[in-house]
């Protein structure tokens, strides 16, 4: 019975490693300048976790095979040092692994979070609310008007709480339901939650960041391929969470300029 279990364990282990090792799961296309670093990090993590997984499971199967069916009364061999040394060793091994991943990954992380966007980056504010994303561009004057939550009037398409009656800066702010950006230009996205926690996730951009009520969080990226990509909310935010999405349109500079001009004319 013990030997049978060892065989089953080995089969399950190898079968679950097979699709990973042979790259059956293809990564979605990467459309960002920083995405390759994230992909490398994911690959390193998978390799490290994969070796640990294979080693642990196969060793387990080996011991089960070797020591199964033994008669009672045989002497048990203990490693020197007892449980304390075992725990300490495991702690150091796992700690080293996590630390190594952290050291390897710090560059990928820093590129997104510890470097400031360039001053000429395109400024866009992203607002998440139950259950849609809205985006705001500063308009012709290049300035974002201040927000007044009491002025939010969704039936009137005032999703951000602008006050165009009293605030001239608000009159040219462009509010859209899709995020349109030009190719090869840095975008500085300021995340703002209207109600509860949400998340901004574009897998092709290799970006995922929570919206936190009360905090204005910052993200920056440069898209390198034109196309239409999904922006999803990946933080359970309520009843309509499943339908909370928007689209990211990466346009050529020419198309983007035209799009921006058309939006400005609508104001």
């Amino acid at each position: 019975m013990g030997k049978f279990f060892a065989v089953i364990l080995t089969i399950i282990t190898l079968a679950s490693a097979y699709p990973i090792v042979t790259h059956q799961y293809v990564q979605p296309v990467d459309i960002s300048t920083h995405g390759h670093a994230i992909d490398e990090q994911l690959s390193d993590t998978m390799a490290e976790a994969g070796f640990a997984f294979l080693g642990a499971q196969l060793l387990l199967a080996f011991f089960v095979w070797k020591f199964s069916g033994r008669k009672g009364g045989s002497k048990v061999f203990h490693l020197p040092g007892g449980a304390k040394l075992m725990v300490a060793t495991a702690f150091i091994l796992v700690g080293t692994e996590v630390l190594a991943l952290g050291v390897l990954g710090q560059k990928a992380w820093a590129e997104v979070y510890f470097t400031a966007p360039k001053p000429d980056a395109l400024q866009v504010q992203a607002q998440a609310g139950q259950f849609a994303f809205y985006f705001r561009y500063p308009g012709v004057d290049g300035k974002f008007a201040s927000l007044h939550p009491d002025k939010i009037d969704e039936g009137n398409a005032n999703f951000f709480g602008l006050d165009p009656a009293n605030d001239i800066e608000a009159r040219d702010d462009i509010v859209t339901a899709e995020l349109d950006v030009p190719i090869n230009r840095e975008v500085h996205l300021m995340l703002h939650a209207k109600d509860v926690g949400h998340s901004f996730y574009v897998r092709e951009l290799r970006l995922q960041q929570d919206f936190v009520p009360g905090l204005d969080l910052s993200l920056h990226f440069t898209a390198t391929k034109t196309g239409k990509f999904e922006i999803l909310c990946t933080q359970l935010c309520g009843l309509g969470h499943y339908s909370m999405k928007a689209y990211l349109n990466v346009l050529s500079q020419e198309d983007f300029d035209k799009w921006m001009k058309d939006r400005a004319a609508e104001q």
């Binding site: 259950f131 849609a132 039936g155 398409a157 009656a165 339901a177």
Partner: protein
Amino acid sequence: MQGKSGYVAGLVALAVCAIVVHAGPSGGTVSGKVTYEGTPAKQKTIDMSKEPSCAKQHATPIVTETVVTGPNNALDNVVVYVSAGAPDDAAPSQAAKFDQKGCQYLPHVLAFQVNQTLQIANDDQTSHNIHPLPKINREWNKSQPPGTPPIEEKYDKAEFIPVKCNIHPWMHGNFAVLKNSHYAVTADGGSFSLANLPPGKYTITAWHESYGDQSQEVTISGNETKPVNFVFKAKPY
């Protein structure tokens, strides 16, 4: 002789009929037009790309409906009703119907009476969650996946109630819950007509979701038609 009396009886019957038809249910009428002066706010295009099943129902994208105007400064979606002078009416048996179609509320403004059945249908391939926001009636919100039978509700107090969808933030409508049957909602040109008003003194009120309300007094003394017009001040923002 017999033939003659039959003739007279017939004549009398005809006269009685004529009187009944003439004076019966008609009564007086208040009719007029609702217009605006000034510049109304520019309505904004609604982008519903996140809900493709709805977006594809609109060949050209729809716009917000907080101010809907017509030719010659006509103002639509104004509820004109008798706010004082008429007794409260019992609710009619037929339901007031409100539809969710193309991620839009149809009609944008629905007027009905206190305790009248309100029937809300979902004609979309997506879930809606209708959430009227009353201040004095009981508040509720109801989820309605595609294919769900219509929701039936009633309101027991007169009130103007904004309506929103908890899933689609751009969806917006209004309920006007009224005490009597003398009301109209202006459409396609701002004109309205309130018929069957017995002689008496009435307050006629016009309500608009963005511009508030206005009232006028009118006295009906017979089968007359009294003109009443309302002019709202439009603001660009």
